[in-house]
């Protein structure tokens, strides 16, 4: 056991001494490995940011996994079930199963008075939970709070185009807008979200209770609002069925209830698999190129060291020891290069330039993925072992008496 320990320490000492002595060559040969590890780690890290951006974009549309959309209608007429009853039935069912995040969703329009005249505004009627469920990115001001439902002047969260249409006023100036309805209502802009696309027109979010006061409950009923519930994905299938059954029972015969899952995760096992495969393929190619370069240099180097290996053998180095020492040289060196590569990748991925460009609009910018760092180090270890293997085999095949005279 003690001999094995000294053998291991001795091999590491030899490897380190070799690296120190040939540091210039080692450094040059490791540039490729460090770059490859940096590339693979960066690609995986950037992939995580891109995936998060894609995820958040998807979640803004369909909600976070698992978001259930509940609607009810009379199959005979195709008309929605009575609004007040459905609202109560929905609330009771969600309360029964302890669903903590839910929101009414109604896509409608409203007319608003802007300085240049009255314009149609796309309006999304929601409850306060909608902001969390859909990751609404509020860039100025704030999203709705439950208390906003009681405001006499309804709160609006608008897009940038809305604010521009208001004359480019600052949110800090508490801009108001007159909503044209059965009776005109003055609303206060409390938050601003970015436009979804260039040239987008004015859009706004309003709380359901406020909208009922502005447009009247009949208008809400006509709009056929649905209800969204954010539930744990692992129980979403079972819960869907229970909610459907319970709500249908509460609403009685003649009403059909549908509960569907529309978030991105509902479509296939892993919607980001294509991105991951692409990223993984590029990373593997980069690594392969780095490994090939290192193997080439290592083979040339070991041939230059044949005499030295012969001398070591004459002083008692076993073939196993020579094999391990040559392998360790490669592994120790590439691990050092791997650490440098991973650190460089972290610096790249977390640099403001990259996060601004790739993580645009991302609310929860992910930390540098530990997976990527581990992958980078594992890749450097693998490359080191691979690049050291061939030279190590060459080294142990050296005939001592020939090597000494080499």
């Amino acid at each position: 056991m003690r001999n094995a320990a000294t053998g291991f320490v001795g091999a590491v000492v030899e490897a380190w001494a070799e690296l120190r002595i040939h540091r210039t060559r080692v450094l040059l040969s490791l540039v490729g490995v460090a770059v490859a590890v940096c590339a693979i780690t960066s690609v995986v890290g950037l992939g995580a940011v891109a995936e998060q951006a894609q995820r958040e974009f998807s979640e803004r549309g369909g909600g976070r996994p698992a978001t259930l959309t509940i609607s009810s209608f009379a199959p005979d007429t195709g008309m929605p079930a009575p609004y007040a009853e459905t609202r109560d039935a929905y609330a009771e069912a969600l309360d029964r199963y302890g669903v903590t995040y839910s929101s009414t969703v109604l896509y409608t329009g409203i007319r608003a008075q802007f300085p240049d005249g009255v314009r149609d505004v796309s309006l999304t009627v929601v409850d306060a939970d909608y902001g969390t469920m859909h990751r609404v990115p509020v860039e100025q001001g704030r999203w709705f709070a439950d208390a906003d439902a009681a405001r006499l002047a309804p709160a609006l969260v608008v897009n940038e185009a809305f604010l521009v249409a208001l004359g480019g006023v600052e949110l800090a100036a508490n801009p108001t807008v007159s909503l044209v309805g059965a009776q005109d209502t003055t609303a206060v802009v409390t938050g601003v979200v970015p436009d979804n696309y260039p040239e987008e027109g004015p859009t706004a979010y309003i709380l359901l209770d406020a909208y009922e006061r502005v447009a009247g409950p009949e208008e809400v009923a006509l709009g056929q609002p649905s209800l969204e519930a954010w539930v744990p994905p692992e129980i979403s299938d079972e819960l869907s069925e229970r909610l459907r059954t319970d709500i249908a029972s509460a609403l009685g015969d003649g009403v059909e209830v549908s509960v569907n899952r529309n978030d991105f995760a509902a479509f296939g096992e892993d919607p980001f698999l294509p991105i991951k495969l692409l990223v993984g393929g590029v990373a593997a190619l980069v690594l392969l190129l780095g490994a090939l370069g290192l193997v080439n240099i290592s083979l040339v180097t070991v041939r230059q060291r044949i005499r030295e290996i012969g001398v070591r053998r004459s002083f008692g180095a076993t073939t196993g020891r020579v094999f391990f020492a040559v392998l360790m040289e490669s592994v120790v060196a590439t691990m050092a290069a791997g650490v440098v590569g991973v650190l460089a990748a972290v610096a790249i991925v977390k640099s403001p330039f990259v996060t601004d460009a790739l993580g645009q609009g991302v609310v929860d910018l992910p930390p540098f993925p530990l997976d990527a760092a581990i992958l980078g180090l594992a890749a450097s270890l693998f490359v080191g072992a691979l690049a050291g293997l061939l030279p190590a085999i060459v080294a142990v095949r050296v005939k001592v008496i020939d090597a000494i005279r080499y």
């Binding site: 003690r2 001999n3 000294t6 053998g7 320490v9 001795g10 000492v13 030899e14 001494a17 002595i21 040939h22 005499r307 030295e308 001398v311 070591r312 053998r313 004459s314 002083f315 008692g316 180095a317 076993t318 073939t319 196993g320 020891r321 001592v400 008496i401 000494i404």
Partner: protein, 234 residues
Amino acid sequence: MSLVRLEGVTRTIPLPDAPPLTILTGVDLEVNAGDHISIVGRSGSGKSTLLNILGLLDAPTTGRILLGDTDVSTLSSAARDRARGRDIGFIFQQFNLLSGRSALENVMTPLLYASGRQFWRRSAIAAEMLDRVGLGHRLSTMPEKLSGGEQQRVAIARALVRSPRIILADEPTGALDVETGETVMGLLDEVARTAGSALVTITHDPHVAALAERHYRLDRGVLITTGAGAEVSA
């Protein structure tokens, strides 16, 4: 008991399109503790092959090598390597110091393959050994900065640093001028005697051979004793 004994050692090398080349024929040699043996012979007479077989670097085609009372052919490759590191020290004509490493690091090299105290105290042991050969003041000097005589002294220190029982010197003064060669041989002789190691020297130089107590000549692969303490000529 002898340290190493060759019994009927023959070494032939197969050649393509020709009969095998016989390098050594029926060599018997016994090396005992404290022996100082010289082996002379013409170029190509098989001196280096004999030294390689004595040093367990090469294996005989027929015959056997006994290290102590162990037949070397029964040892595994790794066991043979370890026995070589433990019991045998080599001194080469071209010194074979490792470039890029200081004198101290060169002398420490064999200790990397030792265990226990020798491994963990390798730096102190190597420094002490260099001091014994008069190079205590040049521990961190690179081989390229040392004279030929100094390089060979480093090589002697390296060969002796694990206190081997046998030192095999292959033309140890071949790359040195006469005066330096005498100094180095004097040192080698003295250090080997002090350590109680047997010294087997292969040389062309009759003056070097004359320092030995037992003399042999290799002639066309046959080892002939030329006496003890007698005048020899290569």
